[in-house]
């Protein structure tokens, strides 16, 4: 038996259950709020309560996980170390949140937290992509000519 692929049915359960768990929690926790806020006529006044719509985000999360599981399953086992460093770099997408927090007109303390987060993410982006490329360059099908070629 060569190249045993990972059983496809077990892993997708994890994001699915996670997603449903979050949904269950959120729905159970917000029975009234969801209905009151969706009425734009409510005299809430100057402070409009921002409401994030849960369901589209959950759909995105669960479907993206499915795509991720499908793709990662096919990644060559040779490349598991570079895979881990490139996903490191990709998960440094937290940079997007950090930029908003560090650069917006917020109190200084909060911007400081954002700036540290931005620094941490940027470190991951730079080192993650660079080292992945460095490692991938080494994977060759033919060995380099033996140096100092003896006859």
């Amino acid at each position: 038996m060569s190249r045993r692929p990972i059983q496809p049915w077990g892993a997708p359960l994890v994001p699915l259950l996670l997603g449903l768990g979050i949904a269950g929690l959120a729905v159970a926790q917000t029975p009234t709020e969801a209905t009151t806020i969706q009425q734009p006529t409510s005299p809430a006044g100057a402070h409009e309560v921002p409401q994030t719509d849960l369901w589209p985000l959950l759909f995105v999360f669960v479907l993206a996980s499915f795509i991720g599981l499908g793709i990662i399953r096919r990644v060559s086992r040779l490349l598991h170390t570079p895979l881990m460093s490139i996903t490191n770099a990709i998960s440094a997408i937290a940079v997007v949140g950090s930029i908003i927090v560090a650069g917006s007109d917020y109190p200084t303390g909060i911007r400081l937290l954002g700036a540290i987060a931005l620094f941490a993410s940027m470190t991951n982006i730079v080192s993650g992509f660079l080292i992945t490329d460095r490692m991938l360059k080494m994977f060759k099908t033919e060995p380099r000519k033996v140096q100092g070629g003896k006859p």
Binding site: L79, T81, M84, I86, I99, M122, V126, T141
Partner: protein, 469 residues
């Protein structure tokens, strides 16, 4: 930049990330994957930076420059240190998620409690617990891998450890649940840091009982946590790009941990709560077993006359930095028409795929690196199995000895080869603290010494015009 433009660029970035990982399925296209990833990241950063809410540009430029200054040298570490670097980078990822979650909580708290909707609070709590526990957990893992002095290498266990750990996590979740219901009371302000503290502590406690042999699995699990904390950040910030990229990272961590667990025949819970790698009590009264040692000259002769040699590398090869000497041996044997293959166990080394990278660094073509499942049926035809710094992954006791901690773990069938040479630094047991049956086998000869020196000597013997006749 208008908001639909930002969304469009996020969509492009998501697609590029997906392609980036897709191209990793083959070493031939993998480098394209890096370019796609870099392009996606650049698009994401620039379009976010161009958003009108971002006004303090110095606050962005300085951290970015600092990040580059620190990240660049981190990418140049020797490849034997890649596991530490990876763990460290999980720590940075967790820290970023935790800090953004913290910032957002205080921001919304300051702007008015009505901003702290229950949904946002759930997401924030999840983000900070995951983020901070990944931060300290990964720092501990990196410390263990780097063999920092004040971090114990051997697993630290105590009575009731699992109860303490689970209790701490439950406490954090319970406080979190209370905060979700009462996000803005006077009590919430001091309680929020308490969750952070517990999460930080929990990360340390989670890694303390983990031994070196479990590091590949643990790094993969921490990878998944880092991804999930990015997902949670996406929920907090209502940002779909964060969710997709985080989900890709999370699923990668999940798949890798499943592969690692399978390769050790263990479950997730067993890895996290099993305290693998405790030193086994030596059973008194077991008969003294004897190693058979072989000289370098003898070993070189047998290697030269073989037609198929399989090298089985392990963490010991990385420790001794022997991969370049192994390449020289490979060259010498190839020159003599000997077929040389490398048998790679999924958990050999300290992170998934560790051995492949080290051997690729030494310029060994990846077509000669063979997975365990593919090489095992051929092992009886192998003339010489050369074990370089591998131990538990070739221990035949895993097949039958129910009492041994690695029972049931799939192994490379080195014992089925016609001759086995095992290079070993000392006569001490391996990381799992188990005696290796292979070393006492009828067909096994030991080559004691540092892997790099032993192989260097072998190469000298095989090099024409020196020593060998």
């Amino acid at each position: 930049m208008s908001s639909s433009l930002v969304q469009a660029s996020y969509l492009i970035a998501t697609a590029l990330f997906v392609f980036s990982l897709h191209w990793m399925n083959d070493p031939k296209t993998a480098r394209r994957g890096v370019f796609a990833g870099v392009a996606a990241m650049l698009i994401a950063v620039l379009s976010t930076w161009a958003e009108p809410v971002v006004v303090h540009h110095a606050w962005i430029i300085v951290p970015i420059l600092l990040g580059i200054a620190v990240g660049w040298p981190l990418a140049l570490v020797p490849l034997t240190a890649v596991p530490q670097r990876t763990a460290l980078s999980h720590a940075f990822g967790g820290l970023a998620a935790g800090l953004v979650g913290t910032a957002k909580y205080y921001l919304w708290y300051g702007e008015g409690p009505q901003n702290l909707t229950k949904f946002r609070m759930i997401a924030i709590i999840a983000e900070i617990i995951l983020g901070y526990l990944t931060f300290t957990g990964s720092l501990m893992a990196a410390g263990k891998l780097q063999e920092v002095k004040w971090i114990p290498q051997r697993p630290v266990t105590y009575r009731g450890q699992n109860l303490v750990n689970i209790g701490a996590l439950l406490a954090a979740v319970a406080i979190g649940a209370w905060l979700v219901v009462n996000p803005a009371t006077d009590l919430a302000v001091p309680l929020f840091p308490v969750i952070i503290g517990i999460a930080l502590l929990f990360g340390v406690m989670l890694i303390i009982p983990i031994g070196g042999a479990d590091m590949p699995t643990v790094i993969a699990i921490l990878n998944a946590y880092a991804g999930l904390s990015a997902v949670a950040m996406g929920f907090v910030l209502d940002n779909k790009l964060l969710i997709t990229a985080g989900a890709l990272d999370g699923s990668s961590g999940l798949i890798l941990s499943i592969i690692m667990c399978r390769a050790m025949n263990r479950s997730f819970t067993n890895v996290l709560f099993g305290a693998f790698g405790q030193v086994q009590q030596v059973k008194p009264g077991t008969e003294q077993k004897l190693y058979k040692a072989e000289t370098i000259e003898g070993a070189a002769q047998i290697l030269e006359q073989a037609s198929l040699v399989v090298v089985i590398p392990g963490y010991g090869m990385a420790v001794a930095q022997a991969q370049h000497k192994v390449r020289e041996l490979y060259d010498q044997l190839k020159k003599r028409g000997v077929t040389v293959k490398f048998a790679i166990h999924p958990v050999a080394g300290r992170m998934p795929g560790h051995m492949n990278v080290l051997l690729a660094e030494a310029d060994i073509p990846y077509t000669d690196l063979v997975e365990m499942d593919e090489i095992n049926p051929d092992m009886p035809q192998v003339d010489v199995a050369l074990v370089v710094g591998a131990n538990d992954v070739v221990n035949p006791a895993a097949r039958y000895d129910k009492g041994c901690p690695i029972y049931g773990m799939p192994i490379i069938d080195a014992d089925k080869a016609r001759t086995v040479f095992a290079i070993k630094r000392s006569k001490n047991p391996g990381f799992a603290g188990i005696d290796n049956e292979l070393y006492f086998g009828d067909k096994t000869w030991m080559l004691f010494g540092d892997a790099k020196n032993v192989i260097g000597e072998l190469v000298k013997q095989l090099t024409p015009g020196s020593g060998m006749h």
